[in-house]
């Protein structure tokens, strides 16, 4: 445990939106991995628990110039302003039911601690947090597929994506008995990553230059000179984060060769995009 603290991971994800087909495998893999319940009517998406949600985004143009992109949105595991661990939700939870793991960069959610004030949901601009408005119920017999690795929630608490933390735990357990200090990249992969038939999701340690996610994202170690709250901006011109300008510092990055898609990741004033789009972290000013 001690060595863990010295060698902090920063688990993150990069999703290739040009590969994403919107097929929904990640969503279902997540639900099935994490004992997410379902109810009779899930067509009201505002009360439908989907830790991983795939948004359909269009370029807003009319026929036949319309384009569509699908954007899978897990919890962004924000590092908060300056990446100090005060993510929008963690900083507001009154009962410490969600915290920032400085050893992993993962934002937790403890269902048994949460008392359901929902402040975190209001604070999260990504709508990544879901409330259990109902008691979860499985049709008779279906509770047999529930996984013991994730505790089923009760009504009245908030839940969200955990980056399949239990898989990290399992990988570490294996490493312990093998007498290894740390885990391999492939030992800890989230359920959405492994399920994605298009291979659009890459997961790993953003702090580890050997990991694919680091190599794709090339995170800027310095704060963005334009906004000191932003840390870890990608130096890959095709990579962006959702609402990066808010300073939430998500650990989920997106990749697209299409400019309109990258622009849809954030809000820009008129004309601003053209000025900003070629800015890729502090290095672009070096």
């Amino acid at each position: 445990m001690k060595q863990e603290n010295n060698k902090a991971h920063k688990f993150g994800m990069v999703i290739d939106l040009d590969k994403c087909t919107g097929c929904g495998s990640c969503m279902v893999s997540c639900m099935s991995e994490n004992n997410v319940p379902f109810k009779e009517d899930e067509s009201n998406k505002k009360d439908s628990i989907t830790w991983m949600r795939v948004y359909k985004i269009t370029n807003g143009k009319s026929f036949p110039d319309t384009e569509i992109v699908y954007l899978p949105r897990p919890c962004q595991h924000c590092g908060g302003k300056g990446d100090h661990g005060h993510s929008p939700c963690v900083s507001v939870c009154p009962a410490t039911a969600t915290d920032y793991g400085y050893d992993t960069g993962i934002v937790s959610q403890i269902y048994t601690r949460c008392f359901g004030c929902r402040y975190c949901m209001g604070a999260c601009p990504y709508h990544a947090r879901y409330f259990n408005w109902w008691d979860p119920k499985w049709p008779e017999g279906m509770e047999n597929y529930l996984s013991p690795n994730v505790s089923p929630r009760m009504r009245g608490v908030v839940e969200k994506c955990s980056f399949c933390y239990h898989r990290y735990q399992a990988a570490r357990d294996k490493a312990y008995v093998d007498g290894r200090d740390d885990i391999e990249e492939q030992e800890y992969q989230t359920a959405c990553t492994t399920a994605c038939p298009a291979g659009a999701i890459v997961f790993g340690d953003l702090n580890n230059p050997a990991h694919a996610v680091h190599q794709i994202v090339k995170p800027d170690p310095h704060p963005d000179p334009r906004n000191k709250h932003i840390v870890g901006k990608s130096r890959n011109p095709n990579v962006f984060r959702l609402l990066e300008r808010l300073g939430t510092n998500p650990k989920v990055y997106y990749l697209s060769e299409r400019e309109w898609v990258r622009k849809a990741g954030d809000n820009y004033l008129e004309g601003e995009w053209d000025e900003i789009k070629n800015h890729h972290g502090s290095s672009s000013h070096d």
């Binding site: 001690k2 603290n5 399992a170 312990y176």
Partner: protein, 223 residues
């Protein structure tokens, strides 16, 4: 004082009408009140401390008596039966199959308990429905591997000298929470003398703080 009470009677016949019947002007009332107070206090305090735990916990015997001491002598250390699997997960209380590694069809000893084991479970191929004293709730992720392999802790620190016991104590379950009494601890106030007397989250955090300098992040122990 009496003056005021008189006033009361005179002043409002309506409201005081009934109550005057039981009213008294002598000061014994106060003394009696104090006595009543003390008696009620003592009775309630004692029942809250002594009777309440009895009501709160149900008590059940294990399916049959298990002699840890005997098994440790025969089979070896704790991890002979309570071992880590290859994937790093912990087996917990061994399944029947593990028992059968030693207990083949015929009884090994002559104890009454082994006879129950053989008749009720081995021959019927039924798992023994042990009550687990240290069972943590579903929200807890506890890695034995992290503690025993990486942390180098011994079993006794948390489980106490159960390996030296010759009999199984009754299992006490909290009627409200379903927790084993060993989680909160035997002491109803939650006081503990030994590191294994309680297994609440605060006890984990305390040790973590001591050993690692940090009480740990939520996900370290929650799932």
């Amino acid at each position: 004082m009496s003056e005021i009470e008189n006033k009361t009677e005179n002043g409002s016949t309506e409201s005081a009408g009934e109550r005057t019947a039981g009213d008294t002007k002598d000061d014994k009332g106060l003394g009696l009140g104090v006595i009543f107070f003390i008696v009620a206090f003592v009775v309630c305090f004692l029942s809250g401390t002594l009777l309440f735990p009895k009501l709160l916990y149900s008590k059940r015997e294990q399916p049959f008596n298990f002699d840890h001491k005997l098994h440790v002598g025969e089979a070896g250390d704790c991890d002979s039966c309570h071992y880590l699997r290859e994937d790093g997960s912990f087996v917990g209380i061994p399944k029947l199959a593990t028992c059968l590694d030693c207990h083949s069809e015929e009884p090994m000893g002559e104890t009454e308990d082994e006879a129950i084991f053989a008749e009720e479970y081995v021959s019927k191929e039924k798992e023994v429905p042990w009550f687990i004293y240290s069972r943590q709730p579903d929200c807890v992720f506890f890695s034995h591997a992290a503690h025993t392999q990486s942390g180098g802790m011994d079993c006794v620190t948390c489980h106490g000298p159960i390996g030296e016991s010759t009999s199984s104590k009754p299992y006490q379950e909290n009627r409200i929470t379903g927790y084993s009494r060993d989680i909160w601890g035997e002491n109803i106030w939650g006081f503990k003398k030994n590191s294994w007397d309680r297994m609440k989250m605060d006890d984990c955090a305390e040790c973590h703080k001591q050993e690692t300098g940090h009480q740990g992040y939520c996900f370290q122990c929650h799932k």
